[in-house]
């Protein structure tokens, strides 16, 4: 892979993982399950 393509691939991968984590954040921050743990 050339440098440009490599960088592009890396950026895309970071973005994809980042998006995944963001979904995780949103779900966890809004889930009622939180209350089970912290606000019994």
């Amino acid at each position: 892979m050339g440098f440009a393509r490599k960088t592009l691939f890396f950026a895309a991968a970071v973005a994809a993982c980042g998006a995944g984590f963001l979904v995780l954040d949103v779900v966890m921050m809004n889930m009622q399950g939180l209350d089970l743990i912290f606000e019994k």
């Binding site: 912290f38 606000e39 019994k40």
Partner: protein, 261 residues
């Protein structure tokens, strides 16, 4: 040319040390406390040691100059100098540490002592675990009335508190300079943002004299406000403190109902 590893290690340490001083004391203009800097540097040294010694070959390279200095007769002069200078330095360190100074000893003071579970306020025993701000619910129920209460709280604050806690609630009122401990800065993320409203109520109503034992030495100049303000005024000023700083009181929701307490 590569620098000898011993020199590299020394340079890293000196660099980090100077870095801390330059960044904190000069660039950010907020001095780094000596006690903390000592701890920081100790662990930075540990880290440098770890990185420079995890491999046998590198370790040998690291200590080679020291070994050579001690063992190789060519460096006798250097060795003797070092062997004289190091004890002298240690001696000087001990001397300057034991020299009496006029600096007051540092205190391990507790800024947020644990509240008692109940406290006597306005002649009545109140349970601080369940106590709530009677006006808080207007924030959602009736924002207009809430805003009015906050306004009244602001008036209480300006009349009574800003001399010490400052008109920007940053703990820099006109009297603040003269007090030790200094009045607290409510803007700081480490003060009211960490506390429940009942805690504030207790601290405001009973002031410095109401501090429990572990907040000793008891020297806080915070007045006992239950002698000057009404209960409602205290609750309203609390509303104002949170409203103005934009912090929210600490809350655990219905934690206590299920707590079996």
């Amino acid at each position: 040319m590569r620098l000898p590893r011993l020199l590299q290690a020394a340079l890293v340490l000196v660099g980090v040390y100077l870095g801390f001083i330059v960044v904190f004391d000069y660039m950010l203009e907020a001095v780094i406390p000596g006690s903390l800097l000592t701890m920081y540097m100790f662990f930075v040294t540990v880290g440098v040691f770890m990185v420079f010694t995890y491999d046998e070959e590198r370790t040998r390279e690291l200590v080679a100059p020291i070994k050579a200095m001690v063992e190789n007769p060519i460096y006798r002069g250097a060795r003797n100098t070092v062997f004289i200078v190091i004890p002298l330095l240690v001696g000087y360190g001990v001397y300057s540490r034991t020299l009496p100074s006029f600096e007051a000893p540092v205190e391990l003071r507790t800024i947020h002592p644990a509240p008692p579970s109940t406290a006597k306020i306005y002649g009545e025993r109140v349970n601080l675990l369940t106590l709530e701000n009677p006006f808080r619910h207007y924030q959602t129920d009736d924002p207009e009335i809430f805003a009015e209460y906050v306004q009244e709280g602001a008036a209480v604050y300006i009349e009574n508190c800003q001399y010490c806690h400052g008109d920007k609630l940053d703990g820099k009122g006109p009297y603040a300079e003269g007090l030790n401990p200094t009045p607290l800065n409510f803007q700081d993320i480490g003060t009211i943002a960490q506390l429940q409203e009942s805690y504030l109520y207790w601290r405001i109503a009973t002031g410095g004299p109401g501090l429990p034992k572990e907040a000793a030495p008891w020297i806080s100049s915070m007045p006992v406000w239950q002698e000057f303000l009404t209960e409602e005024e205290i609750w309203k000023v609390i509303l104002f403190l949170y409203d103005y700083t934009g912090h929210a009181p600490r809350s655990w929701g219905e934690a206590h109902d299920a707590g079996g307490h």
